[in-house]
């Protein structure tokens, strides 16, 4: 069964066809990677999934419901969480506070006028946030200002925040971009752990083939705004079209 169905999606910016006729199906509880050279339209596609962009043509449905025309927070509330290329966290807040926000969003929805409750006495939220931090081995950093953490920790925190919402689909946008090999391996381990510990679908956009082949169950190759092939990692590895797309690529 597919949790995400993308059908005939097209998007143009002025004269540029960023996406044309994209079809993509992500199976439930799978890890699906989307790869492709720079400018292939990976990020545009992702933005169409989370509501930042609205495709010109085609449809996107999540778990049978269309996401088109919905705002980012509504799509998130449907069960899609997104991890950004550069970690997007609340830099002014402490790690624990960062963790509490997704917990609140999960419990109270997109808006709640609860200005009279004491947040720190809200056992349910505090416990849940602390529990998540313990899970991610970050509990000792709870009081730190998020902005002052290392990049690896920020990434870990961002993933933790997304998981706290118990999403059914986790979208990762080049989660290891700019990371050292050791950090990258840690992140791979983390994602594997996540996958193994709960029912979740992961869609990952990645440049790093090492990451892709370590994690993905299926891979879609995107080139010039349109899907080239979709197959298992083993089949993709030697695929001539893929090699052509990557080797023939002129650096942008």
């Amino acid at each position: 069964m597919n949790i995400l169905e993308v059908k005939n999606v097209g998007k143009r910016f002025g004269g540029l066809h960023a996406l044309s006729d994209v079809n993509l199906s992500v199976a439930k509880d799978s890890v699906h990677a989307i790869i492709g050279p720079n400018g292939a339209g990976k990020s545009t596609l992702l933005n169409c999934l989370v509501g930042k962009l609205i495709p010109d043509t085609g449809s996107v449905s999540f778990d049978g419901q269309s996401v088109l025309g919905r705002k980012p927070h509504e799509i998130n509330q449907m069960g899609i969480s997104r991890v950004f290329q550069t970690p997007e966290i609340f830099g002014d807040l402490t790690v624990l506070e960062n963790m509490m926000i997704p917990c609140l969003a999960k419990r109270d929805g997109a808006f709640a006028l609860n200005g009279y409750r004491a947040l720190m006495r809200d056992r349910e939220i505090v416990d849940r946030a602390e529990h998540m931090l313990e899970d991610m081995h970050m509990i000792e950093k709870r009081g730190m200002h998020a902005a002052s953490m290392s990049r690896g920790d920020k990434r870990r925190l961002e993933i933790a925040m997304c998981l706290a919402q118990e999403p059914r689909l986790l979208l990762l946008d080049e989660p290891t971009a700019g990371m050292a090999r050791a950090d990258t391996n840690n992140t791979i381990e983390l994602l594997k752990q996540i996958k193994d510990s709960r029912p979740i679908t992961i869609a990952i956009i990645e440049h790093d083939m090492h990451v892709v082949f370590s994690l993905a169950e299926r891979i879609t190759v995107l080139a010039q705004g349109t899907p080239l092939v979709e197959d298992t990692p083993d089949n993709i590895r030697g695929h001539p079209k893929v090699r052509e797309a990557y080797l023939g690529e002129t650096e942008h």
């Binding site: 989370v50 998130n76 609340f90 402490t94 926000i101 609860n114 720190m120 006495r121 505090v126």
Partner: protein, 425 residues
């Protein structure tokens, strides 16, 4: 001064688990002691603000008379409310005076229509300003940053211009223009009966003042002041609750990273709108109280300078801190009312103990900074505070606390937090 918006855990003491249990009135110990300080300051103001005997030359610096004390707490309320919007969400409204003005007009209209009891007026001022804020906020919050500031400014300036001229057209005189809206004997006052012919709360006239004289000291206890002070304490308490609530957390998240918030399934718009309306209602309440203390509502209350004043109060005191805006409000009002009243003869009286030449020289040096030069002193104060105390007066307080505290480390942590917060803005 222990005023922090962050839960920076104190040194090695962990967790909120303990802190959470130790709460009074839903506040942590730290917040509760801050509340106690505010209550003490508010209730003892007549003593604290009158440190000098009234026959001494220093009596000029006494601020413990009803009108100014009322202004301190009323503008404190205004600034507390403004801080809920600006301090938490970072949205800088340059039109909050519009709500102050609307609140003032509403309250006077209640006096005109119903009678001099202040309760309906104050309630209506909160309701009307809330609705007005909803309208302006709904439109203005479609934009952010400077574009939002200019939209709020434009709405407020339009309100001011119209209140000053068109809306005081004799045919439907809503605002009474330049003179200001006031009660005339010909007004209906349907519920007035034989209550006092001045603003009162169920018979207790706002201008009732008891004077306690101890030697050369005169302490004035004014009914209106205490009403305002109690309301201010309640407002302060509510704002602490709001700061520490999930709602307050979301507002801080808006300021920190709106993108992340949206992708965490939270709709930022209703949060900012709610914050805007709440702070508009605080402003309206402040306006209503101004009218309740002194039943005349002038259009200048809506002018951009008045909006700018509350911005300055909040930043001067320390935006985003709990008590900062109240301090900032107090400072500015003190300068406006005390420094402007020092004139040349007062100066001569102060320095009269000196030889003539020296006296004249000192007067000549000081004179440009007081009396008609009080703006100059205020301008210099703004610059000095922002240059040397980037976190506002509260940071200054923290610095002092650090110096006087043996345990420098503890103070240092707080200071770091303030600096970090500042840098993160």
């Amino acid at each position: 001064m222990t005023d922090r918006t962050d839960y920076t855990p104190a040194a090695a003491t962990p967790p909120s688990r303990r802190a959470a249990r130790d709460t009074i009135l839903g506040l942590t110990k730290q917040d509760f002691s801050l509340l106690l300080v505010v209550i003490a300051l508010a209730m003892l103001a007549p003593f604290l603000l009158n440190p000098f005997p009234s026959n001494s030359a220093m009596a000029q610096f006494n601020a413990g008379y009803p009108d100014l004390m009322q202004r301190f707490v009323i503008f404190g309320i205004f600034a507390i409310g403004f801080n809920i919007l600006f301090g938490l969400t970072g949205y800088l409204s340059f039109g909050h005076a519009a709500f102050l003005g609307v609140g003032s007009y509403s309250c006077v209209w209640m006096f005109k229509l119903l009678g001099y009891n202040v309760l309906p007026g104050i309630l209506l001022s909160i309701v009307v300003s809330g609705l007005f804020a909803l309208l302006i906020g709904y439109v203005s919050l479609r934009r952010s940053g400077i574009y939002f500031s200019i939209l709020t400014l434009a709405f407020a300036q339009m309100s001011f211009a119209l209140a000053y001229s068109v809306l005081s057209n004799p045919a439907f005189n809503l605002t009474n223009g330049e003179t200001g809206l006031q009660v005339y004997t010909s007004d209906p006052q349907w519920l007035q009966g034989d209550g006092p012919r001045a603003p009162h709360l169920f018979g207790l006239a706002m201008r009732e003042t008891e004077t306690l004289s101890i030697g050369a000291w005169n302490f004035q206890f004014n009914a209106g002041y205490y009403l305002c002070a109690v309301i201010m304490v309640v407002c302060f308490y509510l704002s602490v609750r709001l700061f520490r609530s999930p709602f307050g957390m979301m507002l801080r998240a808006v300021k920190s990273n709106q993108q992340r918030l949206n992708y965490t399934g939270v709709n930022a718009r209703p949060y900012t709108l709610a914050a805007f309306v709440i702070s508009g209602m605080y402003a309206g309440l402040a306006g209503g109280l101004l009218s309740a203390m002194d039943p005349l509502a002038g259009a200048e209350r809506m002018q951009w300078t008045a909006s700018g004043e509350v911005v300055l109060m909040t930043i001067l005191g320390g935006a985003g801190t709990l008590i900062g805006p109240v301090l900032g409000a107090g400072f500015i009002k003190y300068f406006e009312n005390i420094f402007s009243k020092i004139n040349e003869s007062t100066l001569h009286a102060w320095f009269s103990f000196l030889p003539d030449g020296l006296e004249d020289a000192l007067v000549a040096i000081v004179y440009p900074f007081v009396g008609k030069g009080w703006h100059l002193t205020l301008g210099l104060l703004f610059m000095l505070v922002v240059i040397f105390l980037p976190g506002g007066l509260v940071q200054g307080g923290n610095k002092m606390a650090t110096i006087f505290r043996r345990d420098r480390k503890g103070g240092g942590v707080e200071d770091d937090a303030a600096t970090q917060r500042q840098a993160g803005e």
